[in-house]
Amino acid sequence: MTTAVATRSVPEPVADTAPDRPADSGRRAGLLLSAPFLIVYLLFLVGPLVVGIVLSFFNTTTVKSGLGGWVGLSNYTKVCRDPLFWDAMWHSVLFTLFTTPPLVVLALAAAVLASRMRRGRVFYRIAFFAPYVVPSSVVALIFLWMYTPQVGLFTKVFSGLGLPVPDFIGSTSGGWTAVTLMTLWWTFGFNFVLYTAALQDIPTDVYEAAAIDGAGPWQQIRTITVPLLAPTTSLVLILQILASLKVFDQIYLLLGGGPNQSTRPVIEYIYDTGFTSYRGGYGAAATMVYFVIIVAVSAAWYGLRRWRAADTAAPAGTAA
């Protein structure tokens, strides 16, 4: 421990002048205080990840103890060559494309509207957020009732209005519609809360100044609120993309990945091969491929943001 501290301080010439470099006891206390988190993190995140990487090189089955035979990279080559895996991957992407734009735009609109309410603001905030705390199984059950052919609420409303009733459960397009609507209602509260918090951080004097200069409410939203919310939008967007790519429970509970696996997301593919077909090693390999894709998306996003931040900072510096 002490040697580690010594080697660290060498390349930092300013370390000596730093007045509050933590003493050894301070470091130990820090480590001890973060230990509960670190233990849980190692046990339930890093540990399973390592086990997953190991399993992906073996023909492990979920119904027998032991690793099974060593198969090298063949699980990976089979995953990458399996059209069903890429179909499932595409379904996850499709779900992300369907849900992300409305979930961001609607959350922003609702947050702005709720913040402009003169009375009952708390009620609206709770009302918009409330669905988010309902468990997915309950939401799926309620929506399943509403989507049921002949007797469901949605189908009755559609036929009552004289519109063609989509086959919400039995067809691919109907299935996507059903799961997208349900997800919008259910998860939009989370983004709504993020936007509501960010809205409260915008100082009111900016609006006052704009009002004095004669800006109408719509102009204020367009030129003040939306630009000042840009960092939040960027956060909401990446959180939403990652959450949507991880979709499993809604589709599994509502459609079972059907009809004929045409809405099956990649997580369900992993579940189906790893647990239902008992092919743990293969499922682990599919998980790793998916994990790499998710990490790549996050890294690309992070890189893009840094590049843009550097890009906007540079001209500002020259102007000053």
Binding site: N59, T61, K78, G258, F275
Partner: protein, 446 residues
């Protein structure tokens, strides 16, 4: 300082109290669950996948056991049918917390047995109660064995059968002299003529079956016709495609001759088939016997159920599966619990006339030949189907509700709907099967 000491002592006491409370709680199901032991909430823990009419019959049979065995408690857990059930049964057994008795389809047995998840029947003590090979339908008992070891006690055989509308059959002149069955049919041509006669009688369709988005029914229908001509589609424990191309082409051509000629609708879902058969717009219905209870509820529908005649091959073949009772392997199960499990299994067999109410043929011959069963119509009409039963070929991926059935069923649906020629359908089936035969099996099967 003394304040700090007092706080530490207080915390220490609290920790001690929490620890002893945790130890004391070991007897609770939660604590024993966390510790990995089986929560013994009843003397026999029984898992099954039955809801609806079958579920009610099973509950009745459990009640009968409780009445006959006072002091032995039974806890039944019903799980979602198909993959969800088998996933849970396999994982619970692999992790050492299985039920004492479970239901399994015989078509699902090969993998469960190969993974070592099941106790051989000879070690459950059930044979000492008189449950022996000679008292079962031979086809079912044979399918309960994997490599010479019997792993399951068959409860029933549930074949794919031929429903007919009695009034339309009389009008079409298909009834036999006694009026309790159909005239003999020999081969596919006779059968096609019968369907034509039914179409003329009903004015709409000769026959119906659930096709759209119902791969399992498509697979049963196809599998039955094909089995009349050739052996299983995969062999060597599911590692080799053993399709007879000519037989399969002939099968598809026969199936298409019925759907393409307007004798039966080529696109129809389950409720559509139900509606057409219930209202007399179709003379025949191809479906599993488990549909009988739902058609009993239809007012003014007089129907009967018989096994399919021989269609393409020389002998009649019935596609079938069986519900069976298994004792999942649990090294910690006590001898007393095993004995209770055996008594429970025996009781269900003796009581299987109740089970037959759902349309199933009891596999237990003492019940199959009993008055309680033979009084049930139309169940007694198709007992022969249990003896002509053909099951899914043994492999790690086949069986009731499996992905395999969904995959090949989807191809068969394409052929039934006339969207692909028999020749192309054979090629598609081959590539479907290859997907499974070339996949590395999760467990080694002999």
């Amino acid at each position: 300082m003394s304040g700090a000491m007092a706080r530490r002592r207080f915390l220490g006491l609290g920790a001690g109290a929490a620890l002893s409370a945790g130890l004391a709680a070991c007897s609770s199901p939660l604590a024993s669950g966390l510790a990995g032991a089986q929560p013994d909430t009843a003397d026999v823990i029984f898992w099954n996948l039955f809801t609806g009419g079958d579920g009610a019959n099973m509950v009745q049979m459990e009640q009968d056991f409780r009445k006959a065995h006072r002091g032995v408690t039974v806890e039944a857990t019903i799980l979602g049918w198909g993959n969800p059930y088998y996933t849970k049964l396999a994982l619970a057994t692999a992790s050492g917390t299985p039920p004492d008795v479970g239901i399994a389809h015989l078509s699902r047995l090969p993998l469960l047995a190969a993974a070592g998840l099941l106790e051989p029947v000879s070690r459950t003590g059930v044979m000492e109660l008189g449950v022996t090979a000679d008292r079962f339908t031979p086809a079912a008992w044979q399918k309960a064995g994997v490599n010479g070891t019997v792993y399951a006690v068959p409860l029933d055989t549930h074949p794919f059968v031929l429903f007919y509308n009695v009034d339309l059959a009389r009008k079409a002149g298909l009834l036999n002299a006694a009026g309790d069955g159909l005239k003999d049919m020999k081969g596919g041509a006779d059968f096609t003529d019968a369907v034509k006669a039914m179409k003329d009688a009903s004015g709409h369709y000769g026959a119906v079956m659930s096709i759209t988005a119902d791969p399992s029914t498509a697979w049963r229908w196809f599998s039955m016709v094909y089995s009349g001509l050739a052996g299983p589609v995969v062999s060597d424990a599911g590692t080799k495609v053993s399709v007879d191309d000519e037989a399969m082409r002939e099968t598809f051509a026969f199936l298409q001759s019925l759907t393409n000629g307007g004798l039966m609708p080529s696109e129809l879902n389950g409720s559509g088939a139900n509606a057409l058969f219930s209202t007399g717009k179709a003379g025949f219905l191809f479906d599993g016997e488990w549909q009988i209870p739902s058609y009993r509820l239809v007012k003014d529908l007089r129907f009967n159920v018989v096994p399919f005649p021989a269609l393409l091959g020389p002998k009649p073949v019935a596609y079938a599966d069986s519900h069976a009772l298994v004792v999942p392997h649990n090294p910690r199960r006590s001898a007393a619990r095993t004995a209770n499990a055996a008594r429970f299994i025996k009781s269900l067999l003796d009581d299987s006339a109740v089970w037959a109410g759902g349309g199933h043929i009891p596999a237990w011959l003492p019940t199959q030949t009993s008055k309680a069963f033979l009084d049930q119509t139309p169940q007694r009409n198709y007992v022969q189907a249990a003896f002509d039963a053909h099951y899914d070929p043994p492999a790690w991926y086949t069986g009731a509700g499996s992905d395999f059935q969904n995959t090949v069923g989807a191809t068969i649906i394409e052929a039934l709907a006339g969207r692909t020629s028999p020749k192309n359908a054979v090629a598609a089936m081959r590539s479907d099967l290859k997907r499974y035969t070339t996949t590395r099996p999760p467990v080694t099967m002999k």
